[in-house]
Symmetry: C2
C-alpha cells in the first residue's frame, strides 16, 4: 500500500498531451493555451494619456511658464493634426496618443481652463505620483516629465514573449489574446474519457429502485467533476458485478484516451474490476492507497497505453480520488503546474481516527480563512454536497489537530 503522494507521483509520470487544436477565440475561454504568445507591437503602442488633462512641454514648466494656449483637443483613437510649440498645450483625454511634441500631462483638475487657455494655480499639488516614479519634493514645482503618461513599450516590447507556458484562458488571458490580435488560439485537445460504473445494486436515477438497490450517483458526480477539471466524459456505460460483462464493457471503451471505472475495486467477493483489468493485460501502477476514504483505488495502464483509474464506489471516496489523482493527472496532461492545496487554519479541533492520511470534508469560511469540518456518517453518507466545499488533510503522522492548526485544503473539483 502506497502513500497518496507516491500515488500522485506515479500517476503524473504517465501524463501526456492529447495533442493540440486551433479554436476560434470565441471557444477559447477556459481552455489551456498551447502556444507561445508574442507581442505583435509595443504595448502601450503609443505614449498614452492615463488621465484626462493637458499635454504640455516639460521644458516650458522649467522655464517658469504657467499659462498655455490650447491648440487642439486629442481624443482616444485619433492622431494629432499639429505639434505644439512653446506656451501651447493639447487638451487630451485618457487613452489618447500623446504627440511627440508634448511630454507631460497636467491633470484636468489641477489646471484652470478658460477661453482656450489654461493656467496652473499656485501649489497645484498633483495627486499621488505613479509608483514607478520618485515622489516630487518641491511643492512649488511638483511636476515630473512624462507624468500621467503610460510610455510606449513600457508594458511590452514588440516581439517580447508574453506567455510561454501552459495556462488556462482566464478572463484576463482572453483579454490579452484579443489585445494582441489573436482571433484563433491553439489549445490543448480534450481527452476522450470513458466512464464505466459498476454494481448489481446500482440502477439509473430514473428507474424504479427496490429496497436493496441504490441509484447511480457516481456517474453524475464524476461527469460534472470531470467537466470542472477541464475535460468531459464522452461515453458512459454501466456493468453489473459480472467479470465477463465488465470485460465486455471495458472492451467497448478501450479506444478512449482515459478509462475511469467506479465500484468493485475492494477485496469483496463481487469486486472484480482490478482482476478483470489485469487479466486484460493492464499494467498495475498501484492498488490501494494509504488514505481514508478512497483507499481501495486501483490505477494502471492498458495494453494500448491508456491510463485507467478504478475508483471505489462510495461517493466521498470517489470525489477524494477525483480530487487527488484524476484532476492532477488532467492538469499535468494539459501541461499545467500542480494546483497546490492551500494551507488554511482549522476553526475547531479534530480528533485523529485512523493511522492513515485522512481526508475530511470542510466548509471554508473567510476573514480570516478557516476550515470547519463537516460531519458525515462515513464515506457513503449522501449528504456530502450539502455543506462541504473542500477537502482537508489530517496527515498520517499528526495526532489530533488543534484549533488553528494549518492543514492542506483541496478545493472540490
Amino acid at each position: 500500500m502506497i502513500d497518496f503522494r507516491k500515488a500522485q507521483e506515479l500517476v503524473l509520470q504517465r501524463a501526456k498531451s492529447f495533442g493540440t487544436e486551433t479554436v476560434p477565440l470565441e471557444q477559447a475561454a477556459g481552455r489551456v493555451l498551447a502556444e507561445t504568445v508574442h507581442a505583435d507591437r509595443d504595448y502601450p503602442p503609443f505614449d498614452r494619456a492615463s488621465m484626462d488633462g493637458f499635454a504640455i512641454r516639460f521644458g516650458d514648466l522649467e522655464k517658469g511658464m504657467r499659462r498655455f494656449a490650447i491648440v487642439e483637443t486629442l481624443l482616444a483613437g485619433y492622431a494629432p493634426q499639429q505639434a505644439i510649440a512653446e506656451g501651447e498645450c493639447y487638451k487630451i483625454m485618457t487613452g489618447a496618443a500623446v504627440p511627440g511634441s508634448a511630454d507631460t500631462i497636467i491633470r484636468r483638475e489641477n489646471a484652470e481652463e478658460k477661453n482656450g487657455v489654461i493656467e496652473l494655480p499656485e501649489l497645484p499639488i498633483e495627486a499621488l505620483p505613479a509608483a514607478t516614479l520618485p515622489a516630487p519634493v518641491d511643492p512649488r514645482f511638483p511636476w515630473r516629465p512624462f507624468q500621467n503618461i503610460a510610455r510606449k513599450g513600457e508594458d511590452l516590447r514588440s516581439g517580447d514573449v508574453v506567455i510561454d507556458r501552459a495556462c488556462v484562458c482566464t478572463p484576463p488571458v482572453m483579454g490579452l489574446l484579443a489585445t494582441l490580435g489573436h482571433t484563433t488560439v491553439r489549445v490543448q485537445r480534450f481527452p476522450a474519457i470513458g466512464l464505466l460504473t459498476t454494481g448489481d445494486e446500482v440502477v439509473p436515477a430514473g428507474d424504479a429502485v427496490s429496497p436493496v438497490q441504490i441509484r447511480n450517483s457516481n456517474r453524475w458526480l464524476l461527469e460534472s467533476a470531470l467537466k470542472n477539471a477541464g475535460a468531459g466524459v464522452v461515453a458512459w456505460d454501466h456493468a453489473p458485478d459480472d467479470p465477463a460483462l465488465i470485460r465486455q464493457k471495458i472492451e467497448g471503451l478501450k479506444d478512449k484516451d482515459i478509462l475511469i471505472c467506479c465500484g468493485g475495486v475492494s477485496a469483496g467477493d463481487a469486486d472484480y474490476v482490478p482482476g478483470v483489468l489485469e487479466a486484460m493485460g493492464a499494467e498495475r501502477l498501484f492498488h490501494k492507497v494509504a488514505m481514508r476514504p478512497g483507499k481501495p483505488v486501483w490505477c494502471g495502464v492498458s495494453k494500448e497505453g491508456k491510463i485507467i483509474f478504478a475508483l471505489p464506489g462510495n461517493p466521498f471516496s470517489c470525489l477524494v480520488n477525483m480530487t487527488l489523482l484524476i484532476a492532477p493527472y488532467l492538469r499535468a496532461c494539459f501541461g499545467l503546474p500542480p494546483a497546490e492545496p492551500l494551507g488554511l487554519a482549522m476553526a475547531t479541533a479534530r480528533k485523529k481516527r485512523s493511522p492513515l492520511d485522512e481526508f475530511f470534508p470542510v466548509f471554508v469560511s473567510s476573514s480570516p480563512a478557516r476550515l470547519t469540518p463537516v460531519t458525515l456518517n462515513g464515506s457513503g453518507d449522501i449528504r456530502l454536497g450539502r455543506q462541504a466545499n473542500a477537502l482537508a488533510l489530517h496527515p498520517a503522522n499528526e495526532d489530533d489537530l488543534a484549533e488553528g492548526a494549518v492543514v492542506a485544503c483541496y478545493s472540490f473539483v
Copy 2:
C-alpha cells in the same frame, strides 16, 4: 463618491430572480438549484454493510459464542433468502443490505474462515471505531452492536428536507440529486446579458489596427468572466464615442435583463455613456466609487427596470468592477449567499499609494496560503493575466501593509 461596500449594497438591493426553468439532470451541473429537495426514502435505504465481513447476532457474542456457520453470501443489490439463527452468520459484502436477523458485522480480516465456518480469534481487535459510537474498552470483548453497519435512515429520513436553499449544482450535489431520483432539476434561469463596448480607438481583434488604435479586449475579458460567473453574454455590440450612436446601440439592447457598458464613463470630453443613459431616463444608483482602479464606474436602473453597469475601459478596472459588483449581483439574483473574500496573509510588504481602497493583483501561493502582489504599470497594463490569479484589498483606512498582514482576497471571476 461612495465606498465600494456601499456600492455593493446598492447593487444587491436590486437583485432579483430571472425566473426558473426545469432542465434534465444532464444539463444541471453548474446551474443554481431552485427547488427544495426532499428525501424520497430513508438513507441509507436499508441497514448497509460498510465493510466486507460476516454479519452475526450480537446476542451470540454476549453468550460467548466465537464460531459461526456461514448460511448465505450477501452481495450488494440482493435480498437475503433466509434469516440466521443462533451460531449462524452471513458472509456479507460492502454495500449489501444487512438482514434483520443480524445486527453486527465482523470485518473479514478479523475472522478466520474455513470450510463454511468462521472463528473469531483471541483478541480480535477491531480497527478504529466509527466516530459516532463509543470506543470499546475491553480488549477481550471489543465488539459493539451494529458495528460496521450504516443504519437505515441514519443519514436522512424519508421526507426530510435535504436542500432548502439556493446552491450551485456541484459534483456532490449532482450525485445527491441522482441518488434521490431526480432526472430533472428546477434551476434559476440565466439572465440575458447585453454587452456594449465603446470607444473610437477600439477595433475588433481581427481588424487592422493603426498606431493610435487598440484592439477590443474587454469584450473577451467580460464575456468569459460573465460565463464564469454563471451567466453569459447573449448580445454584444460596439459604439464609437458618439452620443447618438451610443443611444441607438443601447436602445437595441434594452430588452436584455442586464446591460453592461464598457468605456466612456469618466469625465473626459468623449465620455458620453452616463449622460446618454441618464438622458434615456435611467435612474442613477451611483457614479464613481472610492476605489482604485475602477473608480469611474456608473450604475443605474433603466426606465424598463433593468440594471445597467457602465464600467471604465481599462482592463484591470473592468475586472475589478466585474469581481466586486457584477459577479456578486448575479449571485444575489440566483439567490446565492455572497462569496466572501478569503482573509489571507501577504507574502511581502506593500506601500499604500492612495487614500482610497486599493485593489491590487496578486498571485495566491500555498502551504501556508500567501499573497504575492503582481506589479503592473497601472490599470491599463495588458499583462494582468500573465501572473495574477486574484485581487486583494489594501483598505483605505490602513497604512502600508506589513509582511504577514491579513487582507481580503477575491478570486478573479
